[in-house]
Point group: C2
Chain length 370, copies 2
């Protein structure tokens, strides 16, 4: 299969990917909570089917466009986990006519706009800022919360369904205890908000979403639903956090070697920021790493090799610095395997996947726009 | 026009873009050198036509795939300015049968592979490392140079055409004098290499390529050809370097506002790393900037506003921090204009452009792959 790869290609190990999907489905089942997997990492109808085989019915996406893509492919219960873009009201109504649509609000203006323009009922979730401070309503902003809930309550098209949070700050941690503390804080705060309204809305749900918490915790209580997404592939960032082992990473770039520089043991691959995107990790010596090198074989890839790393990316070139021994092992025209720092962004720029048995799987971003 | 924009959109000001194209064409003509514009920034057949109207005949691209795209659209003289990927020999032969194909080599192994597999003649350029140290042959590596030139000379399919460099290190400068010194050093070194072989190859050309040098220098001597690309749009990085003014930046993102946080004067737009990619600039106070905010109107956009900036990007969210006065000026559902830090990467992830009169222009990355 590798012999047929001529260009920079994103490889997908279906077995590892299916194991990741099964692992989280099992954990949710064991904890008696619902898993509503986030599909923003893979954005692929075919990968979505592997979730369906493991029992997924509801999904999470991060844009209305992504909701439309999965709605067109048989998903009927979709949460759009970003404050709803009220300029896309036409698409909101189109989706609400077709699927059980869950929308997120953090400002009363958004809810007012929905109340005015909705033609079909939707489920409304309030996003609570439990510490990440990207977006959300602060849990003690009772006046704001009460006003939004009152508005939702008055309108037949708006069904107050739950409170949710995204603990993006767990992505900055490398200590499992810190991640547990963030998680427990979030669960506590979301339950405070739910308790404030559960008299009037007894069915109100609590939903959380980050891959680090959902990976590290074995016992998850106090929530009705989890929405992790990145675990479908994992990546070097998640390994660095402690969410996964290297051998759970289910995607790997195959990059043709196009130049070698023996005077500094640097190898140039065709693989730059248009292939990897541009997230990086801090390496042991304080320098940035844009990917780790693995050995490719017909059956997949090894754990990362020591003494060889992607040290910089320009638009189309990737620079790999190696020990002399590893430098000598590669020749021009070889394919080099590179584990990505951030699989969501790498998949988004690559626009498709190639499985180890040579199947091409689609990604929404590679489906064409015109 | 703005009223019809519902999603995150990359706006293109055709007038500014055509002025940038004309400016560089005029400069090349004035200096009696050839302009072979790099098309990796726009990657658009329609924008390419604007270059053709200004006299461009030969172009530069950064992958064989991009060469195929432009070859399919009437370009017949194409330089692929990256060490050639010898795994794509089939595509090399296909292109060589169709267009005047110029390839770049930095290692003898690449030239050997070409010599063995080429079915049609191609033009060979040697890439010289004049100081950027990404890739290229060092100008004093005479043994290596001589061996490659001897191999090229022996083979009828390989026509030794010139020596070229890319001064990527000018992108790290903000001092015009430093950029001039880098440029003059490169021209000196390339001419040394050319002079070594001009007895045997009297037609040998010298080609340089970076947008900072080509923008800042008014008089360019000692080269036959320039290959700048980013100047077609420019961006905040080029403004920071000193290559352009804010009002020459020809692309701007229009991002719907999806949330507001009055307690910290932060605005959330739908516009994250899948829209902007993830390059940043160092701001005045040492913090990172991922974009600058402008006022949008039907005729284009203003210079950047002071006191409001994109301070972080996650996958789909952009966080804008504003002064109180500017924070209050925006409401949920408004479109916010944001100048990109790096227009090449932003265009690549967006996959298309919308002109101010509402035309949709394509980008290779948005053309679909399956």
């Amino acid at each position: 299969m590798l012999d047929h790869i001529t260009q920079t290609t994103l490889l997908l190990d279906e077995e590892k990917c299916r194991q990741n999907i099964a692992m989280m489905a099992d954990k949710a089942a064991r904890n008696h909570i619902r898993l509503r997997p986030h599909f923003k990492t893979h954005q692929s109808v075919q990968v979505g089917e592997w979730f369906r085989e493991q029992g997924a019915t509801g999904i999470t996406v991060s844009s209305l466009k992504m909701a439309r893509y999965f709605a067109a492919n048989g998903w009927t219960d979709i949460l759009v986990a970003i404050p709803v873009n009220i300029r896309e009201m036409e698409l909101v109504n189109e989706l609400a006519a077709k699927v059980q649509l869950h929308l997120v609000a953090v400002n009363i203006e958004t809810v007012q706009a929905l109340a005015e323009a909705l033609q079909r009922p939707v489920n409304i979730w309030l996003k609570i800022d439990t510490g990440y401070h990207r977006t959300g309503i602060l849990p003690h902003s009772h006046e704001e919360l009460d006003a939004i809930v009152a508005l939702v309550e008055q309108n037949d098209m708006l069904q107050f369904t739950g409170v949710l949070a995204h603990d993006g700050h767990t992505y900055k941690q490398t200590d499992a205890e810190a991640i547990r503390t963030i998680h427990h804080t979030t669960v506590f705060l979301l339950n405070l908000v739910r308790d404030r309204y559960k008299g009037r809305f007894p069915e109100l749900k609590v939903s959380i979403g980050d891959t680090p918490s959902c990976s590290i915790l074995q016992t998850i209580t106090g929530v009705d639903e989890i929405r992790p997404g990145n675990y479908v592939f994992y990546d070097l960032t998640q390994q660095h956090i402690g969410s996964c082992n290297f051998n759970q990473i289910a995607v790997c770039m195959a990059c043709p070697i196009i130049a070698k520089h023996p005077e500094r043991n640097e190898i140039i691959v065709h693989g730059g920021s248009v292939h990897f995107s541009k997230d990086s990790l801090m390496g042991a010596n304080g320098s940035l790493i844009f990917g780790r090198v693995v050995e490719l074989s017909e059956n997949g890839w090894s754990e990362p090799l020591e003494g060889i790393e992607v040290v910089s990316l320009s638009q189309e070139h990737g620079t790999i610095r190696a020990s002399k021994a590893l430098f000598d092992r590669y020749k021009i025209g070889d394919l080099m395997g590179v584990l990505p720092v951030h699989s969501c962004l790498t998949a988004d720029v690559m626009g498709s996947y190639t499985t180890l048995d040579g199947k091409r799987l689609e990604h929404l971003s590679g489906m064409g726009q015109l």
